[in-house]
């Protein structure tokens, strides 16, 4: 059996890590907590921007550190709302069909993302992907509260490539036959370990690389075959 590894943010949905995070923070237990979390994240903006330039993993760690103190119950409870109000409406028009066609082709669909697993569970349910086939970031919990740290391994950038290698090995996939889908230049390592990389709405650096290596470029947000009147 082959697998197809899908990045999520920017690839299947037009959101990034920040939008769901803001939604979580905006629905904190008290207005003061909301203010603290959003304000703290804003003040931390320059550090996060620097981290993003340096290493996507550092950015993820910086962003998710602002979850410190949020209860696990609340996180789980909010995750459905975050999915319904932030993620689902931002799914690219062709995302569901692409996943469906991948499953029709007899491939195992794996979502590999820097987003939080609690949010991604709902996306997986929506796309009929088993929750076990999600590789996402997990907040470390202590006594039912987030510590502000991410559990290892952190899912980001070059680390995704190793996670895919490990996953493929664990499931007996031949990586040369596997596919990878991403929108971002930061995912070049992930796209490079699979035999069939696809760039979905690529950023400019990834587009250049795709042209150089003849990697196919997909647009999954255009109406299929000009059928604007159809879903």
């Amino acid at each position: 059996m082959r697998a197809a590894y899908f990045d999520v943010d920017g690839t299947l949905v037009r959101t990034n890590l920040i939008q769901p995070t803001v939604m979580y923070f905006a629905n904190s237990q008290t207005p003061w907590e909301t203010f603290k979390r959003i304000g703290g994240a804003l003040l931390d903006g320059p550090r996060m921007a620097l981290a993003e330039l340096q290493d996507r993993r550092l950015f993820n760690e910086a962003l998710f550190s602002h979850f410190k103190g949020m209860s696990e119950d609340r996180l789980v409870e909010l995750s459905r709302e975050v999915f319904q109000s932030v993620v689902k409406p931002n799914l690219f028009r062709g995302a569901t069909d692409l996943i469906l066609k991948t499953q029709d082709a007899g491939m195992r669909v794996v979502l590999i993302t820097g987003s939080l697993d609690v949010t991604m569970f709902h996306l997986a349910d929506h796309l009929n992907v088993p929750r076990a086939d999600i590789i996402a970031n997990r907040l470390e919990m202590k006594d039912g509260y987030a510590t502000g740290k991410l559990m290892r391994p952190v899912v980001a950038g070059p680390g995704k490539a190793q996670l895919i290698v490990d996953d493929a090995r664990g499931h007996g996939h031949d990586l040369a036959l596997c596919q990878g889908y991403s929108d971002s230049y930061s995912d070049v390592p992930m796209l490079s370990v699979v035999g069939h990389p696809y760039c979905v709405h690529p950023d400019s650096k990834l587009r250049q690389l795709a042209h150089a290596y003849n990697w196919p470029i997909l647009d999954i947000d255009t109406p299929a075959r000009g059928m604007l009147g159809r879903p």
Binding site: D97, N214, L218, P223, A224, R225, G226, R230
Partner: protein
């Protein structure tokens, strides 16, 4: 020897022939005695095309007139041939649009409002907005685009309806909208005799479940030529598919055909025998040859592509599919067929810049093979122009260049799969199914500008009868060695060298024919002996090749 005016024999007084090599024109000196087959002059177009359309709709063949099939409130789907034909696309107004306008007028008169128009692309790339507008005309476009005028999507979940199996087990599944219609009206443009008839619906609106039964190497091998339905297994299978569709849904077929006036002024001289050019035309031709040598590739392609062809409509028929197609074929053959006596040991096929599968894109290596062993080989009736085991010489740069958007799956097919095997049967059995279901490429077919991932396989199969028949293919003018090698071709730096190589495996004094295509031409080969060359070489060196 044939005495048809389109067949000429090279003598010591003949000028060099000017032939296509992709988007370049090259001069070749051919040995004395070489037979050159030119396209027939264009047939005279109809005086009043709109009147011919109206007449066809009200005097259909083997069917009630269209108006008698209409009733208020009915559901009608108009299917339209895509832009793969004619080549290059015809000058506005496109005949398909004129037909559709006349049909819509009738539908309006009979209060038929549930109308959708589908471009019958099968696995071809979707036509762009501008291309659709050009084909159907601005009035129809404005009224129906985009909600009720769109490209067929053979991969849309829930978008196909299974109609059943033919008696020989072909699964027939067609576009759901068409299947649930009270009437399908098909607007066709037959440019070569392979198209039209039951192929229109049997290919245009179906999907993989049906295509796999007739777009396969066994079918093409069993077709002596797919340009003659009488000896084409492809046509036989399509007929069974079409009959099943027609038994489930009422179909009213409208077919049209055009003459072969491919080049408008100032390029009209390209259609003529080089020995019959006026001094002005000769200077024009020489200037064009030189200009194409200097210009960059995109500019060269633009020269030919940006000028739509002034094709003239020579026939319009409507009614029951088979009765209509019989008339279309007759007219099509009248325009295209050049009678030729005897096959040749060596045949030269100039490969032009365009094929049905690269409108607006570069003719990539796989399409070069489709032209050589597919289309040009099959453009013959009675017998192939080249003898069994004979040599075909083609002229094309064979550049390793693919359009990223249209032909993305071709790249992988060509470089990863064709390098493992060239055996069409093995490709079909070992690779086709998985590759055709590749979700990334399917997405490019659906929401991008791409051909379906099954299409590169079909392109390889399309040359399968030629591949079985032809002994050797030699490329003249290739800019690299490895692309021809992947295709299984040899290379030669000049036409003289290619002819020398071809003679090594040919009988003494071999017969040589140049199939001087572009505009469109087709041969009707009758048994007999084609003359051999009178001299071993022309005694002159090639200028360009």
């Amino acid at each position: 020897m044939s005495s048809h005016p389109s067949v000429v024999t090279i003598s010591h007084r003949s000028k060099p022939r000017v032939i296509f090599s992709g988007d370049q024109l090259v001069e070749v000196d051919l040995p004395i005695g070489t037979r050159v087959i030119y396209p027939k002059p264009p047939l005279k177009p109809l005086n009043d095309v709109d009147a011919a359309i109206r007449y066809a709709l009200s005097h259909p063949l083997n069917s009630e007139p269209l108006y008698a099939l209409l009733r208020p409130g009915m559901k009608v789907t108009i299917a339209i041939d895509d832009l793969s034909m004619p080549l290059p696309p015809m000058k506005a107004p496109d005949i398909r649009g004129r037909v559709v306008e006349a049909v819509l007028e009738l539908l309006d008169q009979y209060a038929v409002t549930d109308i959708e128009l589908i471009i019958a692309t099968a696995f071809h790339r979707p036509m762009t907005k501008d291309e659709i507008k050009h084909t159907v005309g601005p009035k129809t476009f404005k009224r129906f685009w985009p909600n009720r005028l769109y490209n067929h999507d053979a991969e849309r979940p829930g978008g196909m309806t299974y109609l059943g199996k033919t008696e020989d087990g072909i699964d027939v599944e067609i576009n759901a909208r068409a299947a649930e219609s009270d009437l399908i009206i098909y607007s066709n443009l037959t440019f070569v005799p392979m198209n039209g008839g039951h192929k229109s619906l049997g290919t245009g609106l179906v999907g993989y479940k049906t295509l796999r039964h007739h777009h396969n190497p066994a079918t093409i091998r069993a077709s002596e030529t797919y340009m003659d339905p009488k000896v084409s297994d492809l046509s036989a299978k399509l007929e069974r598919v079409g009959k099943l569709i027609n038994s489930k849904v009422k179909v009213f077929t409208i077919e049209t055909t055009v003459n072969n006036r491919m080049f408008d002024t100032p390029l009209e001289f390209l259609s003529k025998n080089e020995d019959e050019l006026t001094p002005t035309e000769e200077r024009g031709l020489k200037a064009l040859v030189k200009a194409l040598q200097i210009l960059p590739q995109p500019a060269r392609q633009a020269i030919f592509e940006r000028v739509p062809a002034p094709y003239g409509v020579i026939g319009v028929w409507a009614g029951e599919t088979e009765a209509v197609h019989k008339e279309t074929l007759k007219k099509c053959y009248e325009q295209l067929l050049v009678p030729v006596e005897g096959q040749s040991d060596i045949v030269i096929f100039p490969i032009p810049y365009i094929s049905p599968y690269n409108v607006g894109a570069f003719l990539n290596p796989l399409l070069v093979s489709v032209m050589a062993q597919g289309y040009l080989f099959n453009l013959s009736k009675g017998a192939p122009l080249v003898k069994k085991g004979g040599t075909v010489i083609i002229t094309h740069p064979c550049s390793d260049k693919f359009d990223r958007e249209q032909h993305a799956p071709y790249v992988e097919f060509f470089h990863k799969i064709l390098t493992q095997t060239k055996d069409a049967m093995e490709l079909h059995k070992r690779f086709e199914r998985d590759f055709s279901r590749n979700p990334g490429y399917i997405q490019m077919y659906r929401t991008g500008k791409g051909y379906h991932p099954a299409h590169p396989f079909y392109m390889w199969y399309w040359g399968e009868n030629g591949r079985q028949h032809i002994g050797r293919v030699i490329v003249v003018g290739a800019d690299n060695e490895y692309v021809p090698k992947i295709l299984g071709y040899e290379t030669a730096p000049t036409m003289n060298e290619a002819l020398r190589m071809a003679r090594e495996t040919a009988p003494p004094s071999p017969s040589i024919t140049l199939f001087r295509i572009a505009p469109m031409v087709m041969t009707e080969v009758t048994p007999g002996k084609a003359a051999g060359v009178l001299a071993e070489t022309s005694g002159e060196e090639d200028d360009a090749l």
